[in-house]
Amino acid sequence: MIPFLLRRLVQSIPTLLLASLLIFFVIQLAPGDFLTPAKLNPNISSEQLAALERNFGLDRPAWQQYLLWMGNMFKGDFGLSFQYQQPVLDIIWPRILNSLYLAVMSLVLFYSIAIPLGVYGAVRQNSPGDNAINVVLYFLLGFPSFFLALIVIYFILQLRNATGLDIPIGGMTSNNFDELPVFGQMLDVLKHLIIPALVLAISDAAGLTRVIRGQMLEVMRSDYVRTARAKGVSERTAIWKHTFRNAILPIVAGIGGLLPALISGVGFLEVVFAYPGITPMLLTAIGTQDLYLIAGFTVITTVLLIVGNVISDILLAVVDPRVKVA
């Protein structure tokens, strides 16, 4: 296990370098830089501008900026955000964590919706229930998640007005968050997470449900499930122990890749639900060409992708004895 992790670490270095190089120079392709609005402002003198340029390192050629940034990154310094005048890591990490909470919550709901529905669809293939699930899920898939979120918000507001229930429809914490005990705080965050997470999960569930249904159908026809039935196992054992266990193998292999995809996936919902995740901050950063913030975020996403893939590999080795982590 340890040599495997070490090797994966070494293998990830070129990936990281290439990703950082790409993102850094793609940002450079956009015309202007962070100081362009300032340059257009007649109230800022050219001396001030030159000082700022020197300060931000924007007077040097791009490759020098890149090398300097890379060099600092190996020391754990992701650079300074132009806009916030603070170390990039300090300001984006809490935001990324918030997004991760939402992403993981949505992932959990995603699987708890898609797995039962997919298994049901396979066991009762082409039944009215299977068809109804398909229609509803594809209908939801057809909605952009932000639009679905708006509809959900509308209905929750109606519900709130009708019943007086305090269902949160935005933000991450209630107003009295600081006065709550630790456990109460966790519950409060959970309360705020559940609706955006659910919206995202159900709007995407069609794909995974379909994959699980297809996998189940394929494994259900396999020889070893017939062997299990010939042994006299119950239908429940045949489906869950013998079929499902094998049907999820390709899905387990794909879990790691979902992590960064989900962070960008939750973006729309963070905007609609005014949730303090990374996406609203990133959008502003891209608009103002806050170079190191964007690059820093990309590097962290790449790291998450690599970590996620390692987790997938380990998980797959746990569930599939034919796969060896080595």
Binding site: R221, S222, D223, Y224, V225, R226, T227, A228, R229, A230, K231, G232, V233, S234, H242, R245, N246, L249, V319, D320, P321, R322
Partner: protein
């Protein structure tokens, strides 16, 4: 060596049909045969003749839908001594029979074991289901069974996964699993087809040895007549979903009464007849012309008529009856008496 014992399994007029988009496929169309206690019955036929569907119907493992047992009965006397009709038995009762009274081994040992569980787990599963044993005791039984089927170092193998074993070893594991509850009937669906020849012989030897130790009956499904000669007491030849000939193995090999059986016997390679010997004309292996008829569109009369070199116009009028030709030998051919006559003249 005919067994005049009691009947263990009697299949009467079994019809298993499949509903497909193109129409109803009559995979098994009125099959009748029986197996006595301790006997080995071989069911022979080409792919698509309905032999596998027959065995899966006995186990009630036909995927339903699209399959359906539309008619007939399967009378089976279990280890408890009671005779039951497996076609109408409730599913919960049927589960107690599967793996316990009747167990099955399949053609493909490579894909018939679940890749994510150890072979020990998979054998123990059957033991735990039918013998009220806990996991630990069941694993001991599993190890004993692996030793019983001649797997070296069973204590080690019991914790291995299927992918760590060779095809022959896996088929031994399948046999160990099938025999773990000492069934009264073992259904072997082409158990050696996917194995190479030396391993085939080992597996057949093993099955014969275990049969004499356990005392079970075997329903042996195959298309290999060499295997039939080696294993079976009696033979049922199937074609187009029907039994076309049935009888004692020696009798059938010596005096087949149905042209299909004759064709099958003539297509067995024999040394010297088809191997080119210098100075002699090149021998050729005889083949039955044509293909198995489309199961959606079987001939009105004898299903074999389009391929039969003895066919006469009467053959295509109606399905011939399965007639007794003497000494328990049955044939479904309107001209069997002529073949009988001819064979008597040859031997006279």
């Amino acid at each position: 060596m005919t067994h005049q014992g009691e009947v263990l399994l009697a299949v009467n007029g079994l019809k298993t049909y499949f509903n497909t988009d193109d129409g109803v496929v009559k995979s098994v169309d009125g099959v009748t045969f029986h197996i006595n206690k301790g006997e080995t019955l071989a069911v022979v036929g080409e792919s698509g003749s309905g032999k596998s569907v027959t065995s899966l119907s006995v186990m009630r493992l036909i995927p339903m839908p699209p399959g359906k047992i539309v008619e007939g009965e399967v009378l089976f006397t279990g280890k408890d001594g009671k005779q039951k009709n497996l076609v109408t038995l409730p599913e919960a009762e049927m589960r107690k029979i599967r793996g316990n009274d009747i167990s099955m081994i399949f053609q493909e040992p490579m894909t018939s074991l679940n890749p994510v569980y150890t072979v020990g787990d998979q054998i123990a599963e059957a033991v735990m289901l039918h013998q009220n044993k806990n996991k630990k005791d069941a694993m001991v039984v599993a190890t004993d069974m692996l030793r019983f089927v001649g797997i070296p170092a069973p204590e080690k193998r019991v914790n291995e996964y299927p992918h760590q074993l060779s095809g022959g070893m896996r088929q031994r594991v399948m046999i160990a699993m099938a025999l773990s509850c000492k069934p009264a009937l073992l259904i072997a669906d082409e158990p050696t087809t996917a194995l190479d020849v030396t391993i085939q012989a080992q597996i057949l030897d093993l099955m014969r040895k275990l049969q004499s130790e356990v005392g079970m009956s075997i329903l042996f499904i195959t298309h290999n007549l060499g295997v039939v000669a080696e294993m079976a007491d009696r033979v049922v030849v199937m074609y187009g979903g029907r039994v076309v000939e049935e009888g004692d193995v020696v009798e059938i090999f010596k005096a087949p009464r149905h042209p299909y059986t004759m064709g099958l016997l003539n297509s067995i390679p024999r040394p010297g007849e088809y191997v080119h010997v210098p100075g002699q004309p090149k021998g050729r292996l005889e083949a039955i012309p044509g293909n198995v008829p489309n199961p959606l569109n079987l001939p009105v009369g004898c299903a074999f008529e389009p391929r039969c070199k003895f066919a006469v116009p009467d053959c295509s009028k109606a399905v011939p009856a399965l007639e007794d030709t003497g000494q328990g030998h049955m044939a479904r051919c309107i001209r069997w008496r002529e073949f009988d006559q001819a064979q008597h003249e040859v031997s006279a």
